[in-house]
C-alpha cells in the first residue's frame, strides 16, 4: 500500500486496493465462505418428529371416538382433557417440525454413505486417469505446435485447436455422443462392414464404458493441457535441442533430459487444470453416460442440491471435492518441483 501510494498517488492507490479487495471478496471469500458455512450445519431430522406427531394424532382420533361414545360425563371430561393435552403436544411438535433446530458440526462430512464414498474415490481416480491420458495425448501436440514456426504454426493452431474450441462445449460432447452411441457413427460403420448386427441390438455399448467419458473429457480439455505446455516449450532455446542431438543424444533422451524438464511448469499447470476440470465436470459424464455408466461425484453433488434438496450435504460434498483437488494441486507442485512463481510464468 505504501509503495503503491508512492507510485500512483493516494487516490489511485486506494482505488486499486479497493478493487483488489472487492475482487477477492466477490470471487473467493464470499462464495467459498457461503459454501463452507452451508456445509457445517444441518437441521434435525424431522423423521422421528413426524412419526411422533402421527402417533399423537392417531391417539387423538381414538380418544375422540372414545369421547364421542362415552356416556359417563366424568369419563368424557377426562378424555377431553387428555385430547387437549395431546393436541397441545402435537401442536408444539408441529411447530418444532416446521422449524427444525440448526445443528453445527462436521456431520455432513462424516455422514457420506459408503456408496457415495466409493463414487468419490472412483471420480478422483477417473480424473487422474483423464489427466494422465490427456498429458500423453497433448505433449506431442504441444511439442509440434511449439516448435513449428511462422505460417505453419498458425495453421496447426487454428485448424487443430482453435476452430474445434470455438464450438460450444456441450455441442462437442453431444458430437461424441453421436459418434459413440448404440446407433452412432462407429457402430454404423461397423454395421456397414458387417462387424456388428444393429438390427438385433448387437452393437458395441461404448457409452456404458467409463472410457467414453474419458474420451469426451480429454477432447473437451485438450486445450487446457496443450496451451500451458506450448507456452513453456516456446521459451525453450532450440539450440539446446540441437546441442543435445549434436552430443549424440537419442530423441527419447533429448525429451527426457532437456525438453520435459524445461516444460515441467507447463505440464504441472496443464495437469492441474485438466484434473480440476474433469474432477468437477458435470455435463460430460451426465451427457455421455445418460445413466448407463456409473455416476461421477459431480452428479451426486448436483442431486444433493436439486433432487434431495439437501443443500448442506451438497455443500459438504462440494467442499470435500475442493479440498481433495487443492491437495492434488499441492501434490503436483511438489512432484514437479515447481512453485507458484513458476506456474504464474
Amino acid at each position: 500500500m505504501g509503495s503503491l501510494a508512492r507510485a500512483y498517488g493516494r487516490p489511485l492507490a486506494l482505488t486499486l486496493t479497493a478493487i483488489l479487495v472487492l475482487w477477492i471478496l466477490a470471487l473467493i471469500l464470499v462464495p467459498l465462505g457461503a459454501m463452507v458455512q452451508q456445509s457445517l450445519w444441518w437441521k434435525d431430522s424431522a423423521g422421528d418428529l413426524s412419526l411422533t406427531i402421527d402417533r399423537l394424532y392417531n391417539d387423538i382420533a381414538t380418544l375422540q371416538l372414545d369421547a364421542g361414545n362415552a356416556t359417563d360425563a366424568a369419563k368424557k371430561a377426562a378424555l377431553d382433557a387428555e385430547i387437549a393435552t395431546k393436541q397441545g403436544e402435537a401442536t408444539a411438535l408441529e411447530a418444532q417440525e416446521l422449524n427444525p433446530g440448526k445443528q453445527w458440526g462436521l456431520d455432513n462430512f462424516t455422514r457420506m454413505s459408503s456408496l457415495h464414498l466409493y463414487i468419490f474415490v472412483r471420480t478422483i481416480l477417473y480424473a487422474l486417469m483423464v489427466t494422465a491420458l490427456a498429458l500423453i495425448v497433448c505433449y506431442p501436440v504441444a511439442y509440434v505446435v511449439a516448435l513449428a514456426s511462422g505460417p505453419r504454426k498458425a495453421i496447426i493452431l487454428t485448424v487443430a485447436l482453435i476452430v474445434p474450441y470455438a464450438i460450444n462445449e456441450l455441442l462437442r460432447v453431444y458430437a461424441w455422443l453421436m459418434i459413440l452411441d448404440y446407433r452412432g457413427v462407429i457402430n454404423g460403420v461397423l454395421g456397414w462392414f458387417g462387424v456388428v448386427d444393429l438390427d438385433n441390438r448387437g452393437w458395441i455399448p461404448f457409452l456404458e464404458n467409463p472410457s467414453a467419458v474419458f474420451l469426451a473429457m480429454i477432447y473437451t480439455y485438450v486445450l487446457f493441457m496443450v496451451f500451458p505446455i506450448v507456452n513453456t516449450l516456446e521459451t525453450l532455446d532450440r539450440n539446446q535441442i540441437e546441442a543435445a542431438r549434436d552430443l549424440g543424444a537419442s530423441t527419447a533422451r533429448i525429451h527426457r533430459r532437456v525438453i520435459i524438464p524445461h516444460a515441467k511448469p507447463g505440464i504441472a499447470v496443464g495437469c492441474i487444470m485438466t484434473f480440476m476440470l474433469s474432477a468437477g465436470s458435470y455435463s460430460v459424464p451426465a451427457i455421455m453416460t445418460r445413466g448407463q455408466g456409473g455416476d461421477w461425484f459431480s452428479q451426486l453433488v448436483y442431486r444433493q442440491f436439486f433432487e434431495s434438496n439437501n443443500w448442506n450435504m451438497g455443500s459438504a460434498y462440494a467442499v470435500s471435492l475442493l479440498v481433495v483437488c487443492t491437495a492434488f494441486i499441492l501434490l503436483m507442485m511438489r512432484f514437479f518441483g515447481v512453485g507458484l512463481r513458476d506456474i504464474a510464468k
Binding site: 539446446q240 543424444a249 537419442s250
Partner: protein, 379 residues
C-alpha cells in the same frame, strides 16, 4: 597470481594426457551448395580444411558462414555436393553420428543441469556409467580450469566460465572436429581477447581440427592457421592471416580485412602486373590483381600504414591535413586531396606532433593494389 573476473590460466599439464586420445580429421567440401527454397545460401563451394588445423570462416552476417558450419555438423543437408570428414562421406548422417561437436553462439548449455552434468551429457548419451562419466567431466573441467564449479548451475557462472563449460562439454565426446559458431560474441572485449588465446592454446593441446565462424576479423587473424573469407555465399579467399592481409585476392577481402584507402579510376596502361590508373588525384601505379584490361574501371587500394609522409615514393599526392587522431602507439591522419579522403597511419612520435597543413603523401608501387571493379565490404 591473482586472477579477477573469473579469468584463470588454463592448466598446462593436465590436458596432455587427455588430448592424446583425440585426433583431428580433415574436412572437405566437394562442390557443396545450399539453397533454401528460392534463395541460395551457399554457392557451389570447394574447401579443404586440414586435420588439426585452426580454420576460421570470416564474413559479414548473412554471408552463409553459419550455414556452412551447420552443414558440416549435419543439421543441414547440402542441396548439392558432398561433405567429407576424414575422407568419409557424411551424406545421410545426422549430427549425432558425425565426429563433430558444435559450440553454439549462445552456448546452449542446459540450464537445469549442473555444470558437471552438462559436460557429461555427451557421455551419458553414449551410455557411459555415471561414476565414469562424472570422472571424465571432472577431468575436462580441470582442463578449462573450472574443476571447482562442477556442482554449480550454468546460470551461476560468469560469461567466460560458461564459455569454457561449453568447450568442455563439446570436448567430452572426443570429437575430431570442433565447430565454433561465434562463441565469443557475447563476451566483453577484455574477456574476448583472453578467450582467444585460451581457445588457441586448447586447440594446440588437444590437436583436433577447429573450425571457427566469426565476423570479427581480429579473432580470425589472431587465432587461425588459415582463414576463409566469405561474402554472399561465396568463398572470396582462403589463405593464412598474413597473406589475407598483405595480398587480398578481391576488393571485398581487401576492404573487409583491415582498413583501406580506396581510389576509383580507369586503367590507362598495363604492363606485366603493373597497372597505371587515372584517378581523381592523378595517375597512380600499382600492382595488378585479377583480370584487368586497359580502359577498364578499376579500384586502387592502399593500406593507411603503407602511406608515408614526404615525396619519396612512386606515387605522390599533395594533400591537406584535415584532422589528427591519436591512437596511442600510432596516429591516424585524415587528409583530403582533390575531393578524395585518405587515412594515413604513422607511428606516434615527435615527427608527427606539429604537422604542416599542406603535406605530401606517398606510397610505393608495391603498396597500391589494383583490382577490377567489384563489391566492397562497406558499401
Amino acid at each position: 597470481m591473482a586472477w579477477t573476473a573469473g579469468i584463470r590460466p588454463v592448466g598446462t599439464t593436465n590436458i596432455v594426457a587427455y588430448g592424446s586420445s583425440m585426433r583431428g580429421k580433415d574436412v572437405r567440401l566437394d562442390k557443396v551448395s545450399i539453397r533454401f527454397g528460392d534463395s541460395t545460401a551457399v554457392q557451389p563451394t570447394d574447401l579443404a580444411i586440414h586435420a588439426g588445423e585452426f580454420f576460421s570462416i570470416l564474413g559479414p552476417s548473412g554471408c552463409g558462414k553459419t550455414t556452412i558450419l551447420r552443414t558440416i555438423s549435419g543439421f543441414i543437408e547440402p542441396t548439392d555436393g558432398r561433405v567429407l570428414i576424414g575422407g568419409e562421406d557424411m551424406v545421410g548422417k545426422g549430427p549425432n553420428e558425425r565426429p563433430t561437436a558444435l559450440i553454439f553462439q549462445n552456448l546452449a548449455l542446459f540450464p537445469l543441469m549442473s555444470v558437471a552434468e552438462n559436460v557429461a551429457f555427451g557421455l551419458e548419451a553414449r551410455g557411459i556409467g555415471k561414476a565414469q562419466r562424472l570422472k571424465r567431466a571432472q577431468e575436462l573441467l580441470e582442463l578449462v580450469a573450472l574443476d571447482q564449479y562442477g556442482d554449480k548451475k550454468p546460470a551461476d557462472l560468469s560469461g567466460g566460465q560458461r564459455q569454457r563449460v561449453a568447450i568442455a562439454r563439446a570436448l567430452a565426446v572426443e570429437p575430431s572436429v570442433l565447430l565454433l559458431d561465434e562463441p565469443l560474441s557475447a563476451l566483453d572485449l577484455k574477456l574476448r581477447q583472453h578467450m582467444r588465446t585460451e581457445l588457441r592454446s586448447i586447440q594446440k593441446r588437444v590437436g583436433i581440427t577447429f573450425i571457427y565462424i566469426t565476423h570479427d576479423q581480429g579473432e580470425a587473424l589472431a587465432m587461425s592457421d588459415r582463414v576463409a573469407v566469405m561474402s554472399r555465399g561465396r568463398l572470396e579467399q582462403v589463405a593464412d592471416a598474413d597473406t589475407l592481409y598483405a595480398e587480398p585476392a578481391t576488393p571485398f577481402v581487401a576492404t573487409f580485412v583491415g582498413e583501406q584507402n580506396v581510389l576509383r579510376g580507369r586503367i590507362t596502361t598495363l604492363a606485366d602486373d603493373v597497372a597505371s590508373v587515372e584517378t581523381p588525384i592523378g595517375l597512380v601505379t600499382g600492382r595488378a590483381k585479377g583480370a584487368l584490361k586497359v580502359g577498364d574501371e578499376a579500384l586502387v587500394m592502399v593500406r593507411p600504414e603503407r602511406i608515408s609522409l614526404g615525396a619519396s615514393n612512386a606515387n605522390t599526392v599533395p594533400a591537406r591535413l584535415v584532422s589528427r587522431n591519436l591512437e596511442g602507439p600510432s596516429v591516424n591522419l585524415l587528409c583530403a586531396a582533390a575531393g578524395q579522403n585518405f587515412t594515413v597511419t604513422v607511428p606516434n612520435g615527435p615527427a608527427v606532433r606539429d604537422l604542416p597543413e599542406e603535406l605530401n603523401l606517398s606510397f610505393g608501387l608495391a603498396d597500391a593494389l589494383v583490382y577490377p571493379m567489384g563489391a566492397l565490404a562497406h558499401g
